[in-house]
C-alpha cells in the first residue's frame, strides 16, 4: 500500500473520530453558554447515561432504553441544576467548578452502585467490516457515528439560531443581567440547557460505548474534549466541529508520521500540543469571543 493511501486513511480515520470528540465537547459548550460553568461532571454524566442505556436494553430494547434514559438524564440534569448549581449562583466560577467536581463524584459512585462494575458491550448492529473505496478502507461504524455526531451538532446550531429558548441562551451568554431584565426566563432556559447536555451525554455515551465498551473509563473520554474546546473556543458551537476535525486529524497523522519513529504514544500529547500552539496564536480559539476571559 502506498504511503499516500496510508495517509488518506489516517486522515479520514482521524477526522471521523474528531467529530466524535466534537460531540463530547458540545456538552461543555452548552452548559458554558448557558451558565458560564465549566462542567467537569460532563464525563460522569456520559458514564451514567451510557450505563443506564446498556442496563435497560436487556429489559426493554434499544429504542425504549434510549427514551427512558433521555427522561432519566433530563431529571438528573435539571435536578443538578436546581439542587446543586442554583444555590451556588453568584459564587466565584472556581467554586462552581469545584461543585461540578463534587457532582461528578456523586454520579460516579451512584452509577457503580446502580449498575455494578462489570464492563458491558453495546452492539448497535452496524456491520464492522470496512467499506472499501478503491484501496482506501473506511470504517462503517466510524462513518455512521460521525454522521450522527455531525447531525447532532447541526441540530444544536439550528436550535440556537431558530428557537426562542436558543435565542434566550445566546442572550444569557452575552449578558445574564440584561437578559433577565428583558424578561428572558432564566430558569427555564437553564433547565433546557442542562437537559440538552444530558441528551448529548447519552449520544456520546452510546456512540463511544459501541466503540470501546461501556465501563468506568467512559468518564475519561470527556478529557479528550478539552483540547477541542481550546481550539474551537468554549462558547462556539461551530468552532467545536472544526476543532474536532483538526484535533482528530492531528492526532492520527501525528501518531502515524511522528509516533511511528519514536515508539508511538504521541497521540494524546499531540492534541494538547496543537491546542497550546493555538493558544499562542489565537488565544480565544477559532471562533470564540475575545471577551471571554475570566473563570
Amino acid at each position: 500500500m502506498g504511503e499516500l493511501i496510508f495517509g488518506i486513511e489516517l486522515l479520514i480515520t482521524g477526522m471521523l473520530i474528531g467529530l466524535m470528540y466534537s460531540m463530547v465537547a458540545l456538552g461543555f459548550v452548552l452548559i458554558y453558554k448557558a451558565s458560564s460553568v465549566f462542567n467537569f461532571a460532563q464525563g460522569a454524566m456520559t458514564l451514567f447515561a451510557a450505563l443506564t442505556v446498556v442496563g435497560l436494553i436487556p429489559h426493554v430494547g434499544l429504542l425504549w432504553a434510549l427514551l427512558i434514559a433521555a427522561v432519566v438524564m433530563c431529571v438528573v440534569a435539571v435536578g443538578a441544576e436546581r439542587i446543586v448549581f442554583r444555590p451556588l449562583m453568584g459564587s466565584s466560577q472556581l467554586t462552581i467548578f469545584m461543585g461540578t467536581v463534587g457532582f461528578a463524584s456523586i454520579l460516579e459512585g451512584a452509577s457503580q452502585i446502580m449498575w455494578g462494575t462489570k464492563p458491558r458491550g453495546l452492539q448497535l448492529g452496524i456491520p464492522s467490516e470496512p467499506l472499501k473505496l478503491g484501496e482506501v478502507f473506511v470504517s462503517k461504524p466510524d462513518l455512521i457515528s460521525a454522521a450522527i455526531a455531525g447531525l447532532l451538532v447541526i441540530a444544536i446550531v439550528l436550535f440556537f439560531k431558530r428557537t426562542r429558548i436558543g435565542l434566550g441562551l445566546r442572550a444569557i451568554a452575552d449578558d445574564p443581567a440584561a437578559a433577565a431584565v428583558v424578561g428572558i426566563p432564566l430558569r427555564r432556559v437553564w433547565a433546557v440547557a442542562w437537559s440538552l447536555a444530558g441528551l448529548i451525554a447519552i449520544a456520546s455515551g452510546v456512540l463511544w460505548g459501541s466503540r470501546i465498551g461501556v465501563h468506568f473509563g467512559m468518564s475519561l473520554i470527556a478529557l479528550k474534549a478539552l483540547p477541542v474546546l481550546i481550539i474551537g473556543g468554549i462558547d462556539s458551537v461551530a468552532g467545536v466541529i472544526v476543532a474536532g476535525l483538526i484535533i482528530g486529524a492531528a492526532e492520527a497523522l501525528g501518531e502515524g508520521y511522528i509516533g511511528t519513529y519514536i515508539g508511538g504514544g504521541v497521540q494524546d500529547v499531540m492534541a494538547y500540543v496543537v491546542a497550546l500552539l493555538f493558544l499562542m496564536f489565537r488565544p480565544s480559539g477559532l471562533f470564540g469571543q475575545t471577551a471571554i476571559q475570566r473563570l
Binding site: L94, M98, V101, I113, V269, L279, M280, P283, S284, Q293
Partner: protein, 333 residues
C-alpha cells in the same frame, strides 16, 4: 499551632504520623503554592501535580544517582519545577480563566508524558525510582518521627516565607493583578514580571512538596502518583480551604485527603454495628464517593469562601464565648 505540630509525634500514634500528618502537610504545602498563583494572583493552574512529579524525580535522581546532599536535592527539585513553571506560565500573559486552565492542563499531560518517555529519568524499565536511605550529615532519617520533622521543618519554613511573601509588596502586586490586571499594569505593576513570578513561586512549592513525598513519605518517585486527578484534588484543596488563605491551603488538604478515609472508616464501623452483610460491600465502597461529593457540595454551598473563613469564624465564636476578645475576625480571610 506550631507547638502542636512539633509535639505531635509524642501525642499521636505512628499511624497518625505516617498516614495522616505527613501527607497532609506535604499536600498542604503544594496547595499553598497553588494558592499563591491562583488565590492571590488569580491565575488558575491545573498542573500542580506535574510540578510535584518534576520535583520528585529531580530530587531522587540528584540524591540517588549523583549523591547530592538531601537539602540541596530538595532545593533542586523545587528549582527544576520552578523553571518549568515559568515556561508553563507564559501563556498567562495573554489568556486567563478557563483557557489558562486548559493550557496548564495541557502542560500537566505533556510533563507527565515526557517524564515517562525520557530514558534518562531512569523510568525505562520501571516508571518508579526508589530513594536510597535518607541521610543528612550522617543522621539517618528512617523513623517516622525523623521523617516527620524533616517534612515539618521544610514546610514550616516555606509556609512562613509564603505568609510573609503574600503580605509584602509582591503579594499586593499579585492581588492587584487578580482584581484587574490591565488596571494594575497601568499603575506600574509589571504583568510579565509578577505573573511569571507567581508561577515560579507556585511551582517551586510544588517541586519541594514532590521531593518531600520521596524523602519523607513514600520513598519513591512514580509518575502514577501525579496524574491529572491529583492536580484537580489540589485545586479542590484551595477552593474548599479558601482562595487566598495560607491556613486554608492546609485545611483544604486535610479535607480532601482525609475525608474519604474518614467516610470509609465510619461506614465500615456502622455496617459492622448493624451486623454486617446487610449492605453489600460494593455498595458501601461506592457510597463513599457519593457521600464525599455531597459533602463537597454542602461545604461549597454553606461556605463558598472556604474552610479558612469557617475557622476564623470559629475562633471568633470561641473568643466571644470566653469573653476574652471582642473580635470581628469572622470576615478576615
Amino acid at each position: 499551632m506550631l507547638a502542636m505540630a512539633v509535639a505531635a509525634p509524642f501525642l499521636l500514634s505512628e499511624y497518625w504520623i505516617k498516614a495522616i500528618l505527613i501527607p497532609t502537610i506535604i499536600f498542604g504545602l503544594s496547595a499553598l503554592g497553588l494558592n499563591i498563583v491562583s488565590g492571590y494572583a488569580g491565575l488558575i493552574s491545573m498542573g500542580q501535580a506535574a510540578f510535584m512529579a518534576l520535583g520528585a524525580f529531580s530530587a531522587v535522581i540528584a540524591y540517588g544517582r549523583f549523591g547530592v546532599p538531601v537539602p540541596l536535592a530538595i532545593l533542586l527539585g523545587g528549582t527544576v519545577a520552578a523553571l518549568v513553571g515559568v515556561v508553563v506560565g507564559t501563556p498567562s500573559l495573554r489568556i486567563k480563566g478557563l483557557y489558562l486552565m486548559v493550557a496548564t492542563l495541557a502542560s500537566q499531560f505533556i510533563i507527565i508524558w515526557a517524564l515517562q518517555r525520557v530514558p534518562w529519568t531512569g523510568s525505562g524499565s520501571f516508571a518508579t525510582l526508589n530513594t536510597p536511605p535518607v541521610r543528612i550529615a550522617g543522621f539517618d532519617f528512617s523513623t517516622p518521627t525523623a521523617k516527620y520533622y524533616l517534612v515539618l521543618v521544610v514546610v514550616a519554613v516555606m509556609t512562613l516565607f509564603g505568609w510573609n511573601l503574600v503580605r509584602s509588596r509582591i503579594g499586593r502586586a499579585w492581588m492587584a493583578l487578580r482584581e484587574h490586571d490591565i488596571a494594575a499594569s497601568i499603575m506600574g505593576v509589571s504583568m510579565l514580571r509578577y505573573k511569571l513570578l507567581a508561577f515560579l513561586v507556585s511551582s517551586f512549592y510544588a517541586g519541594v512538596a514532590g521531593s518531600l513525598v520521596v524523602f519523607g513519605w513514600t520513598g519513591a518517585a512514580s509518575v502514577q502518583e501525579y496524574e491529572l486527578d491529583v492536580s484537580i484534588k489540589i485545586l479542590g484543596m484551595i477552593i474548599i480551604g479558601g482562595l487566598g488563605s495560607v491556613l486554608g491551603s492546609f485545611l483544604g488538604a486535610a479535607f480532601i485527603l482525609l475525608l474519604p478515609i474518614l467516610i470509609a472508616v465510619a461506614m465500615q464501623r456502622v455496617a459492622a454495628l448493624t451486623g454486617g452483610g446487610t449492605v453489600s460491600v460494593d455498595v458501601l465502597a461506592n457510597a463513599e464517593h457519593v457521600v464525599f461529593g455531597a459533602l463537597i457540595l454542602f461545604f461549597l454551598i454553606r461556605e463558598p469562601q472556604g474552610l479558612a473563613k469557617l475557622w476564623f469564624g470559629l475562633a471568633g465564636w470561641v473568643d466571644r464565648r470566653t469573653g476574652t476578645f471582642n473580635a470581628t475576625k469572622g470576615g478576615r480571610k
